[in-house]
Symmetry: C2
Subunit: 371 residues, 2 copies
């Protein structure tokens, strides 16, 4: 019978794996944190992903376990593997997405280009790092941060005094970058790998706002350098499924690794409508160890614009008629989430030959859902 | 909260509405004939679609009712409408897809081009039709036929003697056609309408085998004539949702209406990967009375090849690795159905600039699932 994919976590990334899995003929089951989440259509159980017995009971009913997020604890992941469950990405890879200090140390071993960094456990160590790096630094909690949370730009150790005492922190050079990029790679357990075009990501308030695929020209040999970084990290860390490498393009034209995500990632939403094989289908294929699809763009340009919840009194669905009528060529994706301010609740993709027109179309369509 | 689409029938057409609905942010519920059908992921109830109370209970839980097939009885449909349920397509339109005699009579009133036809209730009437039409005819039961069932080519009334006595039959001229085409149109309850490019359909054994979109050049002004026929039928019959008009292109370069389908149709599967807005998304938008999407092709050519069940001992999924590895550029869709001989269990779509290469790629990928 059909293969069954199990996804831990009921958010929009799980939701967006449903469509390509259904099209391929693959069954999907989701272990959601609570009933009625984004991926509720495929909800097979609800419970705490930190509880081994909850996850173990879910895993018995599927062929492969993958994830909507990177928060399942190592001890749960390792127990599943010991049970003989196929877990992709596996704990050996996921640890580097779960802990930013481990990531920095391992990337250093791999020779990946990254900002200056240090492990700092107290104010004196951070003071030393600040002194060595122009008096400013980005300080991160090694675990649990996302979308700008757990990250502070500081010029004095006092600014993170509340974070000390709970394990070491990661201090990073404040990189002078001209823009941010993301490089996605898909890798199967068998080792086969495909590389997506590097894309430009535009952040606002620590949250991804827009993506342009592929990234407009920048540093020399940008695409090749980014592809090589993505490939070496996917292979070096043993990632299975989708890997996103967030990159800084520096003002002196270097690429430096910012963050890693081992799952479908906001920077890859463009591919649902802009690539022959989008990241959600690719992730499904990769974690089931099926041959990977062609990651090539369908059109010269694709632009993705996120829809963030605003102080709206009406529902997202009430905006459909005007948005769809004005933009029959744009693809609207929404996640079935209540639009709280700043929350990612959907995105739009526009494709075409002319970048300016594509950007304009995507922004104009997304604007119908704003405020 | 999210709009909820209710689909009566749990087959692959319902299944393929799930993916675009999920992407748009629309909830989907299916009333399936039995548990575990193609659209099981969205199964909210199982039961007999001919039973008013079953359908009525289902309809209470959704915003709009649409269909995987055209078999829901008129009395059930009309009772729902009387209850105030939004039913698309509605009974006034669906009657013409449910009864081929009514269809022929209504198309005659609309002036649509069609084969010679007659209502025949006994052998003498069929004899007269045969004598007037070269001695051969296509005889159809007005109701319940599909994929070649309920259709016989006859040269003598005795060949349908078992069909007489159960109401009138439809006799049609045996058209000399050079090829078959299909014209799809989407229409909203508000009346807005979009027209897909006319496509060529290749039938084998009474079942659709391949579709080429758009149809290669043929009769003069083919696309315009087909579009006009499709539009006038959608408007004349008051169709809401997707309408497929199956057409003969005759050896003397006329277009004649063969059959109608008021739902997504096998001739439109190409659009999932080949059109900006495929028929499944378009049907969802149309029946919910949302603005329609752009039906334009993404690439010059798309070819769809059906996967039919064969005398296989292994499962369809066992064919994935070889097929996907050989054709990373082709999109494979399977329906989660057991592959009985001759049963439609999936299809592949290939897109590109060069028709010969696209045909070859689609056929080669589909061949991995044959036999």
């Amino acid at each position: 019978m059909a293969l069954t994919l199990g996804i831990v976590g009921g958010g929009q990334l799980a939701r967006m794996m449903i469509a390509p899995a259904v099209e391929l003929g693959i069954d999907v089951r989701v272990l959601a944190e609570e009933p009625g989440m984004s991926a509720a259509l495929a909800e097979a159980a609800t419970g705490d992903y930190r509880d081994l017995e909850t996850v173990r009971a879910f895993a018995r009913r599927v062929d492969v376990v993958t994830f909507d997020h990177e928060h399942v604890p190592q001890e749960v992941l390792r127990a599943l593997v010991a049970d003989g469950v196929a877990v992709h990405p596996g704990p050996d890879a996921l640890q580097f997405a779960q802990d930013k200090l481990r990531m920095r140390a391992r990337l250093a071993e791999l020779g990946a280009p990254q900002p200056e960094w240090a492990e700092v456990s107290d104010a004196a160590q951070l003071r030393a790092f600040l002194d060595a790096n122009g008096g400013r630094a980005v300080v991160k909690t090694p675990r649990g941060g996302y979308d700008g949370k757990g990250v502070r730009v500081v010029s004095h150790p006092d600014e993170v005094s509340d974070w000390f005492g709970d394990g070491p922190l990661l201090a990073e050079e404040l990189v002078e970058f001209s823009r941010e990029l993301a490089q996605q790679v898909a890798r199967r357990p068998s080792g086969d790998l495909v590389v997506y075009p590097v894309v430009e990501t535009v952040q606002r308030g620590g949250v991804c706002a827009e993506v342009i695929a592929p990234a407009p020209p920048g540093a020399p040999r940008l695409a090749e350098v980014a592809a090589r970084i993505g490939t070496s990290i996917a292979e070096g860390l043993g990632v299975t499924g989708m890997l996103a490498v967030e990159l800084f393009e520096t003002t002196d034209e270097r690429l430096l690794v910012n963050e890693l995500a081992m799952r479908p990632h906001n920077s890859g939403h463009w591919g649902q409508d802009g690539a022959i094989t989008g990241q959600f289908e690719q992730h499904v294929r990769a974690v089931l160890d099926l041959p990977l699809g062609d990651p090539s763009p369908r059109q010269p340009w694709t632009v993705m614009v996120n829809i963030l919840g605003g102080p709206v009194s009406d529902t997202l669905e009430s905006r459909f008629p005007a948005a769809l009528a004005a933009h029959p060529e744009v693809k609207v994706h929404t996640y079935g989430k209540a639009p709280r301010p700043g929350r990612k609740v959907g995105h739009v993709n526009a494709v075409g030959d002319d970048l300016d027109a594509v950007v304009e179309g995507a922004r104009a369509a997304a604007a119908f859902f704003a405020g």
